[in-house]
Symmetry: C2
Subunit: 367 residues, 2 copies
DNA sequence: CTGAAAGCGCTAACAA
DNA sequence: TTGTTAGCGCTTTCAG
C-alpha cells in the first residue's frame, strides 16, 4: 500500500505472509488453502482467496519446492533445436503442460558431452518434478542415474533397452514395413536403407520392419544397401552419395529412417544428376513439417509427434502424482503419407535391369 | 559411502553441509568457494573442491536463488514453436548460455492470453535471473511489469516503442529497402507488401523500408497493395489470395514481411495457377532454414537469427551482472539472399502492362 | 479446522 | 581468512 518508490530490495513483493495478514489467518492456513487442502472452513478459504486475488499474489516456486512441495516444473531434454521435429513434439508437450499448470525447463543434451550422467543428476537434483527425454539420446547412462533416484521420467520416440522406462513411441516396425512394401509395390527391388543410430531401439525397430517387408516381398536383403546413419541430414547425404557411387547396381529407392536424412539423400541424388522420383525414389520417416515443403514433397511415414508430446506429459504427470507406478509403454500409430518423392521403378533406363517382378501394386495417391 | 539402498527421502542427497563436513570447514566457506569468492586460502579451496568432486556435489538452484543468489536460469518467452525461427534463435541463445553456465526456462506467450502481465509477473517473481522476449509479442503490458520491477530483460527482433528496453534487432528498414529495390530492378512496379503486426516496431520499419525504396525508384505507393498481416503463414495466404483476386491490375511481385507469410503467399499464388517466379515473384524476410527447402527456393532477406540469440544473451547477462545499466540497442546487418522465387517482370503476359521503365538492374545471382 | 514451529539448501552480513 | 547466524518463502508435522 505504501511502497513509495524505494529501490526494490526483496525480489518477491507479496508473499504468503502478506496474504495471511490481509486475511487474518496464519500463513500456514494460507498455504493450506493454496495447496488445496480440503479441511479448511469455506469462509476462511474465501477470505484467503480474496486476499490472494486482491494482492495479486503469485507463489514463489523455488520456496515451494525447497520446502518439499512440487515445483510445477518439468524438464525437457532434447538433442538440439535444429529441426522442427523437436519443435513439433514440444508443442504437444506445451499444450498439455499449460493444462496442468506446469512450466518447462529446456535442456540440450549436447551440453555436457563429457559428463552426461552428472548433467542428468543436476537436473534431477534441481527444480524439476520430472523429466522428458526426446530421442535420439544415448540412453543408458542417463537412465541409470534417473532410476537410481527413482526420478520420474518418460522417453519419447526412443525405447529403453531394459524395458524399465516409461515410453511413448510410434509403431516403428509397422511404419517401416509399410514404407518398404510401398516401395516394393512401385516395382523397386534395390531399396537402400539408411538406419538411425542402432543404439536406439526405435532405429532398430525400423530396420526390422524394413527387413521383414523385404522378406515378405521375396526380395533378399542385400547388406551393402543397409547402412547405419544417425538421423542427421549430412550423414544421410554422405551415405546416399557413397551408395549411389560405389554400389553396383545402385539402389533405385532409398528409405531413410527419418526425414532429415531423407533430405540429405535428396541432396545427394540431385547432385548425382538423378531426378526424384523419376530416377530414384526417396522415402522418409517422421513427417516433420518440412517434409511437405521440400521439392519434391517427401513421401514419408508420419509419426504423431505432437500427440506423442501430449501423451508423454500425461504419463509423466501421472508418474509424478503416483510415484512408483510401474513403467508404462504407449505406442501410437504411424501412417504412410504419400507425396511426390516416390515413383514407379523405370525399367527403360540404362540400368542393369534384373528380375523385375510384376507387382500388381496399385498406384496409391494421397495428400 | 554407506547408503545401503534405503528409500530416498531427501530429494537432495549431497548438500553443502556434506561437503563442509568432508573438508573440515564451515559450510559458509564452502559457499564462498563455490561462488568464487576470492579471499579463501588456496589450500582450503582445494580441499573443498576435492570434496565437491569426490561427493559429486551439485548445487541446489532453488535454495541458492531463494537465499538471494543467482539462480543461473534465464527465461525465454516465445510466441510459439511452430517454425524454425524460434528454433534458430534459441540455438544461438543456448550456445551462449552453455558458456555462461546458465539454464533455460521456456515460456510460451500464448499461455495466458487473458492475463499477460500477471504471467510476466510470475516469471519475474520466479526463479529466472532475466528474461529474453522474442518477437512478435504484444509488448507494452509485458514491459511495464518488467521495468517496474527493474527486472533484466532483452527484446529480440522487436523494438520497444518507448526506447527504454534493451533490444537486439536487425537492419529491418535497410533489409526491406534492398528487397524492394531488387524487385524493382527486376522490372516490377506492382509490388505488394504484406506487413507484420504493425504494433511491432520491426514490422513498421520494414514497411518504411519498402516505401522508401519505392519512392527512390519512382514507383508510387499504392495503398491497396499494402496489407497488414501478422507473420502467420495462413494470413499470408489469405492476403495474397485476395490481392490476386480483387486487385486490378494484380501485383506482379509480393514482398512478405517474413518467410512464413511468404510461404503462404506461394501457396496462394500456386492456387491461382501462377508460376513462381515466372508469373509472380515472391520475396520473404528472415531466411529461416525452410526458406531454402521450399519450391522454388525462397529469395529472402536474411536475419542473423542465431547471432541475434547470442548477442541477446550477452546483453542480458551483462545486465544481470550490472543492474541499472542503461538499456542498449544492438542492430545487426541483414543480407539479401537471392534464390529462385523472384524473376524478371514479364511484359508479354496478358496483363495491363503499364509504364515499364527499363531498370538497368544487373541480374544478381547468388546462393 | 487452525496456529506454531521446524526446517528445505543456500547466501550474505557480521563477527572473530 | 573463516565461522556464526539470520533469514529467503514455503510445506509440513505436531499441537491445540
Amino acid at each position: 500500500m505504501n511502497n513509495a518508490g524505494n529501490p526494490p530490495k526483496k525480489k518477491h513483493s507479496v508473499t504468503i505472509m502478506d496474504v495471511a495478514r490481509a486475511s487474518g489467518v496464519s500463513y500456514a492456513t494460507v498455504s493450506r488453502v493454496l495447496s488445496g487442502y480440503e479441511f479448511v472452513r469455506e469462509s476462511t478459504r474465501n477470505r484467503v482467496m480474496e486476499a490472494v486475488e486482491h494482492l495479486g499474489y503469485v507463489a514463489n516456486l523455488q520456496a515451494r519446492s525447497l520446502a518439499g512441495g512440487r515445483s510445477q516444473i518439468i524438464g525437457l531434454l532434447v538433442p538440439n533445436l535444429d529441426n522442427t521435429y523437436v519443435g513439433t513434439v514440444t508443442r504437444g508437450i506445451d499444450q498439455e503442460l499449460v493444462r496442468a499448470n506446469y512450466d518447462l525447463m529446456l535442456y540440450t543434451s549436447h551440453r555436457h558431452p563429457g559428463n552426461e550422467s552428472l548433467y542428468v543428476n543436476a537436473i534431477a537434483n534441481g527444480l524439476t518434478d520430472g523429466l522428458l527425454l526426446v530421442a535420439p539420446l544415448v540412453p543408458t547412462t542417463y537412465l541409470d542415474a534417473l532410476r537410481e533416484r527413482n526420478f520420474p521420467y518418460v522417453l519419447i520416440d526412443q525405447a529403453d533397452a531394459t524395458e524399465n522406462s516409461s515410453v511413448v513411441e510410434a509403431t516403428n516396425w509397422q511404419g517401416a514395413y509399410e514404407a518398404t512394401r510401398y516401395l516394393s509395390q512401385l516395382g523397386h527391388t534395390r531399396i537402400a536403407f539408411i538406419t538411425g543410430a542402432l543404439a536406439v531401439r526405435s532405429a532398430v525397430d525400423r530396420l526390422r520392419g524394413y527387413k521383414a517387408a523385404l522378406a515378405d516381398c521375396d526380395i533378399p536383403v542385400r547388406e551393402e544397401l543397409v547402412i547405419e546413419g544417425d538421423y542427421q541430414q549430412q550423414t544421410g547425404y554422405e551415405i546416399t552419395k557413397s551408395l549411389l557411387q560405389s554400389v553396383d547396381p545402385p539402389p533405385t529407392a532409398v528409405f531413410a529412417s527419418n526425414d532429415l536424412s531423407a533430405f540429405g539423400a535428396m541432396d545427394a541424388a540431385r547432385e548425382c544428376g538423378l531426378l526424384i522420383p523419376d530416377d530414384i525414389s526417396i522415402i522418409g520417416f517422421d513427417d516433420i513439417p518440412q517434409a511437405s515443403l521440400v521439392c519434391p514433397k517427401l513421401t514419408t511415414v508420419r509419426q504423431p509427434l505432437e500427440q506423442m508430446g501430449q501423451v508423454a506429459v500425461k504419463m509423466l504427470l501421472e508418474q509424478i502424482e503416483h510415484r512408483g507406478r510401474p513403467p508404462q509403454r504407449v505406442t501410437l500409430a504411424t501412417q504412410l503419407v504419400i507425396r511426390d518423392s516416390c515413383g514407379l521403378y523405370q525399367t527403360q533406363r540404362g540400368e542393369h535391369s534384373k528380375t523385375l517382378k510384376s507387382t500388381g501394386g496399385s498406384l496409391l495417391r494421397t495428400n
